[in-house]
Symmetry: C2
Subunit: 311 residues, 2 copies
């Protein structure tokens, strides 16, 4: 990670902690602070900050908005962890486990409130339009989570429906982070379109990787058991593509080794690997639109290191 990115990360962390609080309420603020201190890769705020720089403006202007997209991401994690019954997040107990469900609902709401607070602090020609794009993303993320929950109740989910769901649940916020960075810089419509294309394709690639790493990752590096998605019958792109190919009885009888073998034999791992590379290629092509700058180099470095990740 180069110095530009390291400095941006530090500035984003600090900005996220600068929340205007109106009253001392430990039950509300302690879990919010806990979440802020959990860390995380900060991909979305970094992309927002760097996108603003790539479009020729000082990325400092984008700092509140960068904090905002990470706070929005945190909100969705806190509420999704309740709904998905996940006990750990970034290696620590989730809020509904460490406190309780009510506290997690309320502090998730708070994180969303602070996301809007930060976004609206952004100094830009049309802050209301920023907020509209941000709000649209938030609603689409909720729709994505709704689709994900619906799929749990459905016998059949097509790979196409799954791709649409992850586009909403995962890729939209990455897409919109890049777009907001450009909007703050005053970029023109064609440039914004390239930023969205970059973010959307990166977001899709990122989720495809996640799905594959459950089967292909090095267990120590992944930080969770390899095959845990499969063991929990989590619908991933691999799962759904294989489910389409096999009889239900055959599919249901597979153990992890058999699942892995069947994915290979059906060419599904290779196909998904290819699809992921196509998404990455599309992201690289969108990036070509931008003139050389330290910000563009930093984005290229991020893209490269995400493309190479093995966990």
């Amino acid at each position: 990670m180069n110095r530009l990115t390291v400095n941006a990360l530090r500035a984003i962390e600090e900005e996220m902690h600068r929340l205007r609080r109106y009253q001392t309420v430990p039950l509300f603020y302690d879990p919010i602070d806990y979440m802020l201190d959990l860390g995380g890769k900060k991909i979305r705020p970094l992309l927002l900050w760097l996108s603003c720089g790539m479009c020729g403006a000082s990325p400092e202007r984008a700092l509140p908005a960068a904090a905002a997209v990470e706070l929005l991401h945190d909100f969705s994690l806190v509420h999704d962890d309740i709904m998905d019954n996940d006990a750990t997040r970034r290696g620590k107990p989730t809020i509904h486990v460490k406190w309780d469900v009510n506290t997690a609902i309320l502090s998730g709401d708070g994180l969303l409130g602070f996301a809007f607070q930060k976004l609206l602090e952004t100094d830009c020609d049309d802050t209301a339009e920023l907020a509209r794009v941000f709000t649209r993303a938030m609603i689409i993320i909720c729709e994505g989570q709704g689709l994900d929950k619906q799929f749990e109740e459905q016998e059949e989910v097509t790979p196409a429906a799954y791709l649409d769901m992850i586009r909403r649940k995962t890729a939209t916020l990455i897409e919109v982070s890049c777009e907001l960075g450009g909007m703050i810089a005053g970029a023109d419509d064609a440039t914004l379109e390239q930023l969205r294309r970059f973010g959307l394709n990166l977001g899709m690639a990122f989720q495809m990787q996640d799905d594959m790493l459950d089967i292909t990752a090095d267990e120590a590096a992944l930080g969770k058991k390899v095959g845990s998605d499969f063991e929990m019958h989590k619908r991933t792109i691999l799962y759904l593509m294989l489910r389409e190919r096999l009889d239900k009885a055959v599919f249901d009888a597979l153990d992890l080794a058999g699942y892995r073998r069947a994915l290979n034999e059906a060419g599904i791992l290779a196909a998904v690997q290819k699809q992921t590379e196509d998404y990455f290629d599309a992201a690289w092509r969108a990036l070509e639109h931008f003139p050389a700058s330290p910000y563009k180099s930093a984005v290229g470095e991020m893209l490269s290191s995400l493309q190479k990740r093995r966990y």
Copy 2:
């Protein structure tokens, strides 16, 4: 209710149903539509709409913002009902009862998203500033809910702390509804101050009434059992004032009849009644600031009918 108010109510209902949806997701949208169809008094959007008119602008401009404050209120009801374990709302099953907790979390989030969507549709000189005031209110409401939950764990809660809590949890949104109506009309700072004062005092009076009606209401008209707050040990201003006066053992031994007798003997019902009237008086005084108009008359009618309510 006069014709102006009836027409405003209809327009608000319609506006609340005009949501820009991006995808068909029944699990997400069915409970949102259910909540929108539950009705409710619509005090906040009516006050916003009428406040805009009282300040000399066409209240039609305020319609999206009016829908927004009711959507924000609905969001807080859906999440609070989970936290408070309330099984009915407006005479119907709450969302977490009719569906489940996860669905209620997600649809509450959605209502909040649509609240921002509507607010940001408002055509006004500084829509971003509207959104800042709205966001601040949303965070303060969460703080109020946090205080309320904290109080459940505390042995001692002073009446002053309780008043601060309800100011945040209940009165803030009424205050801000009036303020937003004025902002949309382009009202000056002194006028906005009177609108806030009006709304805040009305909001406090409204909650004091709620607390008293649990003891003094006509059961059929109230729509729930008289004394149910007391039976559930819900801290109300009456409860907390009496708790301050009596030994814990004496207080804990009270049945409903004894509780009511003690409230009368200690002069607490009369004191709270007086306090409520003081809040209403302050609201009436703030209203005097505005020139005569059909909108002001309609606000006066609302205030009057709220002041007289017996359920």
